[in-house]
Symmetry: C2
Subunit: 432 residues, 2 copies
Amino acid sequence: MSSVAPANRVVIIGGGFGGLTCATDLRKFPGAITLIDRRNFHLFQPLLYQVATGALSPANIAAPLRSILKYQKNAKTILAEVAGFDLVANDVLLKDGARIPFDILVVSSGSTHHYFGKDAIWGPFAPGLKTLEDATEIRRKVLSAFERAEADPDVANRKKHLTFVIVGGGPTGVEMAGAIAELARQTLRRDFRSIDPADARVILVENSERVLQSFAEKLSKRAQDSLSQIGVELWLNCRVTDITADKVTIDRGGIIEPVATECVVWAAGVKANPLGKLLAEAVGGVTLDKAGRIVVNPDCTVGARSDIFAIGDMAFMKDSAGKQLPGVAPVALQQGQYVANTLLRRLKGESVLKPFSYFDKGNLATIGRSRAVLESKGIKLSGFIAWLAWLFIHILYLARFENRMMVLFQWSWNYITRNRTARLITGERANR
Amino acid sequence: MSSVAPANRVVIIGGGFGGLTCATDLRKFPGAITLIDRRNFHLFQPLLYQVATGALSPANIAAPLRSILKYQKNAKTILAEVAGFDLVANDVLLKDGARIPFDILVVSSGSTHHYFGKDAIWGPFAPGLKTLEDATEIRRKVLSAFERAEADPDVANRKKHLTFVIVGGGPTGVEMAGAIAELARQTLRRDFRSIDPADARVILVENSERVLQSFAEKLSKRAQDSLSQIGVELWLNCRVTDITADKVTIDRGGIIEPVATECVVWAAGVKANPLGKLLAEAVGGVTLDKAGRIVVNPDCTVGARSDIFAIGDMAFMKDSAGKQLPGVAPVALQQGQYVANTLLRRLKGESVLKPFSYFDKGNLATIGRSRAVLESKGIKLSGFIAWLAWLFIHILYLARFENRMMVLFQWSWNYITRNRTARLITGERANR
């Protein structure tokens, strides 16, 4: 685009909630926007657990980035992995050796699992839930566990196959535990001949005294009641001390308890994408928090560079009350909007801009069919109404209209039939 | 089941069209039916090419076997790989060492790709279209090719990236070529900035003088016209002589022509599952055809064993006119019905049974949006009406009602929007 002023080349790294929102909100920006992602799609991460439990297909919660941006003439998408930054020449360096020059850089590459320093040891046995591959891998593990139990005549082995441990009582852990319990007790109820899937044990391990720490205590309690009702064992104030191929060791208030299981799902810790560290080092004089997040300025810029922004899960910021902003989609999304708005205002010559302020619309988590907890502006809801709200909000935010319709249709169908049609064991052969 | 007469244990290997139909048609059989498959789902193979081109999700065309059989009390499903047969003890031997005893054995384990003796050399570069993993691998290759072209400044390389070669002009090859051409010319039309996806070359290589050999000549001609209209190059009377990572060598009537491409789809040869050979050797005195199919008796039994049946793609049989039955879903399905019926009749003491006779309902192939060819009982149709018939018949036969509704919905949506929403590059990272 020859009409682009040389100072208006915006490069955005990461097509998640933050980066993609920033790109689309810049649709009237008189510059050239380049969105770099190593995947060709935007992923609606809050629903990954539904792929992991066979309720939705991967394509239901992913939309090709090029599709989303196809009519936005000032934007282009590059499918590539970023290797680093040259902040003298102001280039983003790609793994394939190419350089992408920028005037404005927005880094929004999210977070990855963090196993408290045991990544290499625990990681292979306890997949987390960040990518579509994670979700289909967990789906494979969960469904294969029932298959192995059906095929195994040994009672102790069967018990092991039918034990599922979810580590971490945040929204992902709670939703995952609820979904596995429902899968066992409802969906698979009549599918097997040698086992009763309802014998499955689903254990949710939480380090603190309650699940859903970010919610009011009353709602945590409601969520816990709901989980217990659908058969999830809550192990509160418990800490995982070791994970192997067929065992999780859990510290239950001083008592070390080994749990035989081959299916552990990690929903406990995340750390920022390693690009955060590279960026901080390149800029210089920038602090990282202990999860590797960049401590950004109040306007999301990084260090002394007013042309470089970091947003979403890889940025560390506190709200006006001094509380750290959570690593959730709404924060990333609003920061993406904020940065786009900042760039548009700067163009108009406005120099003193308001710092970013997070508008917390509330918290929401679902616990299986017809159950959820919701908290927003002093309103606290649980049960069916909260679940309807959950449904409505997720449908509303699903990135693209096509997916939205398909998901609505699939959910209605699942709800009526109590079935989950995407129960495929793919990738590796099931019996290996 | 203690009420099962010891002579009524039916073991079926393979949950494809043949095996699954046999199992469900035995729902009133007073015996114990065991269905063994290495995958946990029945796959609607005729629509695999739609997964390979991003129009449908894997779960749309696959239904869990246990779900299908959940209410059929006399049937159980085993997820396992078969290693061989002990026809003295009458046991099926599983890879994990277990033995499954049978009184009646039905082998229906289908076919796999066949590269005319070059399996090890060509296979890695030219995936076929038999499994869901094949389909998502081809989807990855096709979509990545456009991405590589977009990123590559070199004109010759771009041309190579945008060249797609489909080997084999049967229904799969024709449907695949049509779908890739549509993907390039319609779906991706506005998605890229450096390339025009419509520049893609789609070459369909066919060994004989026309595509769709099993159809009347007139319809082959119509299909060829349709393919040309949507931009597929037809290389008839051409033979592939070599395939490497970035080149296909094609013999065009004596002239050897190399075509630079990184995306080859194999739709040419199939051979029977190797279990066919194991079974033939175990029974003894049984002939295999050159594709490894068991030459079965007119009642689908194998050799001198009236208790062992082979059906579907792994069975070789001729019709009354002496023509070999094709390796298509309707043949497998009808043979499955026939065997189930045979077992029910034998129970009633009927000993002289009619041989299997294939009721050919016709041929059908689609060539992209609104185009198809159909041939049935002397009726020959092409164009929109044939395409509607194609739609209707596929929806009708989709194994389970849930999938049927989802596919209908997804297709309607794709048709209206000219989009394909399942365009995900998964599995390997796209840029590697």
